[in-house]
Amino acid sequence: MNPTSIPLSAEQKFQTIVGPDHVRPATSADSVMAAQPKLIVEPGTEKELAEALRLSNEAGLAVIPRGGGTKLAWGNPPSRADLVLSTARLNQIIEHAWADLTVTVEAGCTIQKLQQTLAQHGQRLALDALWPEKATVGGILSTNESGALRLRFGALRDLIIGVTIALPDGTLASSGGKVVKNVAGYDLPKLITGALGTLGIITRASFRLHPLPLNTRTFSVAASDVEQAQKFVLAVQDSKLAHTSLQSRFCDENSPVSEILFEGTIAGLAAQEKQLRTLAAPANVVEASASIWASRESLWSFSDPETTAMAKFSILPTAMTRTIESLGQIARGQKVCWKAVHFATGLGHIRLKGEPGALHAALELLRKDLEGHSSSLVLLHHPAKMLPLDAWGSPGDSLPLMKSVKHRLDPANTLNPGRFLAGI
């Protein structure tokens, strides 16, 4: 990594902007993969953040935006990392307009704090993000986080209604707004969602909200094999059930289990249970605890990061059998253990366990297999000692356009350089 240090004069300027207490040297704990930045800057306002970003850009310093730091290892290692711009102090809920079912919140606010505030009026941001106690609004947006609730409520792109971002030239730009329905101007909230902080730093966002459910019930449905699980999932999707979530869990040891979540009135839930039991073999349906919806997060509770890899995959819902069977074959061939959670949206998460060399081979084979079927595999964690493997996979024919967008918004390549697709 680039060993140059930050000139003292620049450090003093950062202190002038954010106050001397909010600039400190980085430690190894602040490293992003192998890259250790030199300075942590914690602005207290949007304007301070924009000003600090402008100064970094002018000084040619590479900036790593950081929220709760829970997903900093997602994406490729940065090609340069001089400065962490932290949103930790931008943590306020600006306005919960509960009667309008909207909220405007600063980027550094944790998901847990946000959800607790919304719950006071019986509402929620309808998204089950990983590690809500630490993850922030800016972080889940930048990584386009989503879980089991996505099936019913959509992704963050469908929930965000407005955003303010700081650009490398110090501009603070807003787009969208505070109302649910709005087509004035370009939809930059969608552009910035999932951009991994490479186009601008999110300082605040507005979301549409949903009511908390009146009641919920979860059922588990056991299957003898992957094909039976696939049949069940497709039958549910083609039925009149109004389920909120639907997931299937697979691993190299046990037969698959699917779970389905219903939300609604007591009478509505009872009727749906009845329908579910006619749809699946009744003996296979058992009521389950809501804690099973933490299965995706549980995949991340591994003890040895040096023999573990995590990936997200995206397939067509009908490709579940094919994909899980391929995964099993590849894993057997490379002698790695595996576990996967797949949602009915076609998105899934895999954990692989094995020697770094075997993990690398398995991931490469799996990606090749998926990309050959118009699907994708994104690497989220790998052992430090594993040979390099691009986090994102093959870009499509829109790569030149993506580079052009990046170039227009961040011409000096200041933000998270090298971390995104194909070197962006």
């Binding site: 501009t171 552009l191 009149k240 009135t265």
Partner: protein, 489 residues
């Protein structure tokens, strides 16, 4: 004025004809008149030619030629847009996608359909309803408007309260960029790695390129649909009932509101047999029968406790269809009670409804112009219809000014100038009231990434001409610049 030089010389016309064939080219002035405006009829510009390509390859060939010759182009679907998005530009051509109207693929197990841009919105549902699926976005013009136009405008409709907008239902796009390159944005699977450019393209009003294929999400029909009509003394009580429904934690499929003038118009046009009242609410719930019935009882109670004096539930599909026909034909129906009208679609936070309504009332009286109101009440999307008579000198100008004042009320209330019709030509001057310069400049950077020469529907959306600063490669002056209208910055 834009320079008149490089456009439509006979050799270019010849080249265009070679791409699309005799049938695909319109250049005679009589026929071009059809294309001089869209649904916003008080703005008119004659295009130099209209092209009707039959394939993505033909679109690409036309756009390549436009790029080479620096000819601005405007894509057009069915021409039903209400903001002038498909209004031709001076010295430009119109590319009509009407002939590209095939549904290419329907994949029920994955709930996807692939269509060409000229496919009519309602035809998608017609094709899939035998399997009990539907295409959710339902703009009032859905029997004539095209999916390509819906993509350009990010069209909504009454049911987007629950189901989301066009952008929620577009998973991927094949796009011909303004330089003639073809790219694929998004895809059949979710979260394709990279920037969400499909999300940026939808709703960009034809300024970023032309979609030639669209991957749609289709939706299984709910087990049952119930539609309730409630008559209130005024829109204020109706608005309070809407707040009550939302506060009770319900998310209906649609909540629509009409004021007395709009009810009268609908009654005169299609006789939906609405109760004659000050504020009419139409609430639709869908889902499993047991769930919907439990919630419907609750909605009924909330309406009564907020002063509803008559409540009806549509008892059959035919009754339900009639209720919706009244609502969906409301714009056209206003033609029965006024020779001319202007429709806006500002959005407000729903809670600001009583205050904004009384302001609209005041403006209406001050200006001596009637304003009919039809809203998507669940999401605060107003549709004020300003009634006027073009034959009375000065009235059209007064009506237009009044409609802009209503949009200013929306902005002041923390809302938006448009919820589903788009900015287009009509509302671009309002953009600088809603957004600050840095906001617009940032949007413009995105535009420059897609279309550095600004050939694709130029002069729309943005309030003032803006040039793309640094262009990749050789610098080519923009026509506006050579004409001395704008300076490079």
């Amino acid at each position: 004025m834009l320079p008149d030089k490089p456009m439509m010389n006979p050799s270019i016309l010849h080249e265009l004809r070679a791409i699309v064939g005799e049938r695909g080219l319109i250049s005679s002035p009589e026929e071009l008149h059809t294309y001089e405006c869209d649904g916003l009829t008080n703005f008119r510009v004659m295009p130099r030619a209209v092209l009707l390509p039959a394939s993505a390859e033909q679109v690409q060939a036309i756009v390549r030629l436009c790029y080479r010759e620096k000819i601005p182009f405007v894509a057009r679907g069915s021409g039903t847009g209400l903001s002038g998005g498909a209004l031709p530009v001076e010295n430009g051509i119109v590319i009509s996608l009407a002939r590209m109207n095939r549904i290419l693929e329907v994949d029920f197990p994955n709930a996807r359909a692939v269509v060409e841009p000229g496919v009519i919105n309602l035809d998608v549902t017609a094709r899939i309803q035998h399997n009990d699926y539907f295409y959710a976005p339902d703009p009032s013009s859905q029997s004539v408007c095209s999916i390509g136009g819906n993509v350009a405008e990010n069209s909504g409709g009454a049911h987007c309260l629950k189901y989301g907008f066009t952008t929620t239902h577009v998973l991927g796009l094949e796009v011909v960029l303004p330089d003639g390159e073809m790219v694929h944005l998004g895809g059949k699977t979710l979260d394709t790695p990279g920037y969400d450019l499909a999300g940026v393209f939808v709703g960009s009003e034809g300024t970023l390129g032309i979609a030639t294929k669209i991957i749609l999400r289709i939706v299984k029909r709910p087990e049952c649909i119930r539609t309730l009509l409630a008559a209130f003394p005024s829109t204020n009580e109706a608005g309070a009932a809407v707040s009550g429904i939302i506060a009770a934690g319900m998310l209906p499929a649609a909540i629509e509101m009409m004021d007395n003038l709009a009810i009268q118009a609908a009654e005169a046009a299609v006789h939906p047999n609405y109760p004659n009242c000050g504020g009419l609410l139409l609430v639709e719930l869908d889902g499993p029968v047991a769930e919907v019935e439990a919630l419907m009882t609750h909605v009924d109670e909330i309406c009564r406790s907020n002063g509803a004096w008559e409540i009806r539930v549509a008892q059959s599909d035919a009754e339900r269809a009639l209720v919706w026909k009244g609502r969906k034909s409301a714009f056209a129906a206003v033609g029965r009670i006024s020779p001319n009208y202007i429709v806006q679609d500002g959005v407000i936070p729903r809670t600001a409804l009583p205050q904004v309504m009384s302001e609209i009332d005041r403006l209406s009286q001050e200006n001596g112009l009637r304003v009919a109101n039809v809203f998507h009440a669940g999401d605060g999307n107003l549709h004020p219809l300003v009634l006027y008579d073009r034959r009375i000198p000065g009235q059209e100008e007064a009506a237009l000014a009044l409609s802009y004042k209503i949009l200013e009320l929306c902005i002041a209330a923390g809302g938006s100038i448009t919820g589903e019709h788009g900015v287009g030509e009509e509302k671009k001057s309002m953009m600088s009231k809603m957004f600050a310069e840095p906001d617009l400049n940032t949007m413009h950077l995105v535009r420059c990434a897609f279309d550095p020469l600004q050939l694709s529907n130029p002069t729309k959306v943005f309030p003032t001409p803006r040039l793309c600063g640094e262009t990749p490669g050789e610098y080519i002056p923009h026509p506006l610049e050579t004409a001395g209208i704008a300076e490079r910055f």
